[in-house]
Amino acid sequence: MNMLFDGLPRRALVALGLFLAVLLVAPWLVNAYILSLLVVVLYFAYAGQAWNVMMGFAGQLSLGHSLYVGLGAYAAAMMFTKFGVNPWVGLLVAVATTTAMGAIIGFLAFRFGIGGVYFAILTIAFSEFVRVGFDHWPWLGGSGGLFLPVANLSSNDLLNLRGAPIMFYYVMLAMCVAALGFCRWLLGSRLGYYWQAIRENEDAAAALGIPVFRYKMIAVMLSSAMTAFAGVFYAFYYNNLFPEQIFSMGRSIEIILGPIIGGLGTLIGPIVGAFVLTPLADGLSELLQWAGIDVPGVKQVFYGICLLLVVVFLPNGIWPMLARRLGLEREH
């Protein structure tokens, strides 16, 4: 426990505690719309954190993380609708499925020396294969979609993840906190050091005794395992799954924008990114809708502009700058 907070200045601890306190009481203070927005924010904060393990820590660029979200979602939804298995047990199936998928992609890429952009393209390709596969798998609804029985909003059933948005909010908040703690621990462990070494320079990492293949595999498998939960959550929160949507590349991009804008490889970056991007993009669409202006694709254009601004003005992302300004940086 001590290690998790080691080196953090007092004001950073206070800020973290305050932020968490605000998030804990927020659902009781905001309306249904803001709550639904916050659920999405937390979802992207979690998925971004999972993606960051692979790219931010170990330097392996995945542009197909919607693959793991989709597989996780379908695995748990299948267990629930076909076999009546509750989502927490379904999560185990989901994690096993996504981890196996990650292992296959990782093995093919790293065994045959596919790196950099070619690895990224491979992740897109697999995501597309699987999307097409699910599109043509009638047992799981095919392109017509897979539906979960709609929740009874009057009672919250945590075991079966059936309930009101507020329950989903707290579940996701808990997972975000767990993911943050887990990633903090990872980064300070042997694993974290080895990953960062591989990210910075693979040849040098190997020369220092690091079995590069093994540690890259661990990164991909851990990241895909963590992402499975985002999928399970998605399935039970939205209650409908369409291969066209959930496996789409657009979804993958949405996941990675948060960590990139917030600060690649940092622990708080994915959270900051999600809290900045999602409300702004959603607020913009709401505003335009309210003004009666119909601009299709405005969200995507907005994401593009945000990415451009960050790349030009804050190439390390928002969080490193923010942490420095506010004196919240970790001391070694």
């Binding site: 050091y193 960062q196 070494a197 910075e200 040849d203 040098a204 190997a206």
Partner: protein
């Protein structure tokens, strides 16, 4: 018994014969140097020993075991640390973290690795830079970080590839003193590729000279620098 025993190794790159029938051996606890003109195959020889390239033929024995064909990380774990001629620091990590990565090779925990890394940094006069990002260092400093990282892996044999290049004479003497001290205190065996003859003459007990991928001479420093073949291809008549 020799710690490193290289017998008749060769390496071709397509048509280019980078190494041909090169043999040498280094006894435990010795400091040897490898010299030769640019393109002689010195770095290729290091890369073959360190596992970056597989030799086309010949054998390499380290500590009594054959190591030819092993991967670089396996060779590091077997006890050979190396630096790169073209430095490869982890630019985004602090100097300390760079060395911690190396120290983890021989440490049971991160805390222990950090302690060991700090010790090595002090040894190489880098302690005051520990928290700086590696990217912010000057080239000679980055070379020292390379050395620190390799030394932190706890090797029995250290391969140093031109770590003195770009240093001022006083800095060269400082580095020479460091290597001599480590060699005497811990018995670390060192093989260095070096153009800075000041360092070679001060450190090496034995010199191997490569030219066009072949060993053209070897022996005690005083003899090698007088060898007409070496003078002709590398050192020149004016040397020393």
């Amino acid at each position: 018994m020799a710690l490193l025993e290289v017998v008749g190794i060769g390496k071709h790159f397509r048509g280019l014969r980078a190494l041909h029938d090169v043999s040498f051996s280094i006894p435990q606890g010795a400091i040897h140097a490898m010299i030769g003109p640019n393109g002689a195959g010195k770095t290729t020889c290091f890369n073959v020993v360190a596992g970056v390239y597989k030799p086309d033929g010949g054998s390499i024995r380290f500590d009594g075991k054959p190591i030819a064909g092993l991967r670089p990380d396996q060779i590091c774990r077997a006890g050979i640390g190396r630096t790169f001629q073209v430095v490869k620091p982890f630019p985004g990590l602090s100097v300390l973290d760079n060395v911690v990565v190396g120290a983890l090779n021989a440490s049971a925990s991160v805390a222990q690795a950090r302690k060991e890394a700090m010790r090595v940094l002090e040894l190489l006069h880098l302690a005051d830079k520990a928290k700086h990002p590696a990217a912010s260092l000057t080239l000679p400093e980055r070379k020292r970080v390379e050395v620190a990282r390799a030394m932190a892996t706890g090797p029995k044999l250290l391969l140093l590839d031109e770590v003195m290049a770009g240093l001022r004479p006083t800095e060269v003497d400082e580095m020479v003193a460091v290597f001599r001290r480590v060699n005497q205190e811990t018995g670390l065996t060192i093989l260095l590729i070096e153009h800075v003859m000041r360092a070679v003459m001060a450190l090496a007990q034995h010199i191997v000279v490569l030219h066009y991928g072949e060993k053209i001479a070897e022996g005690a420093p005083q003899e090698v620098v007088k060898d007409p073949k070496v003078l002709e291809c590398y050192l020149g008549e004016e040397a020393l």
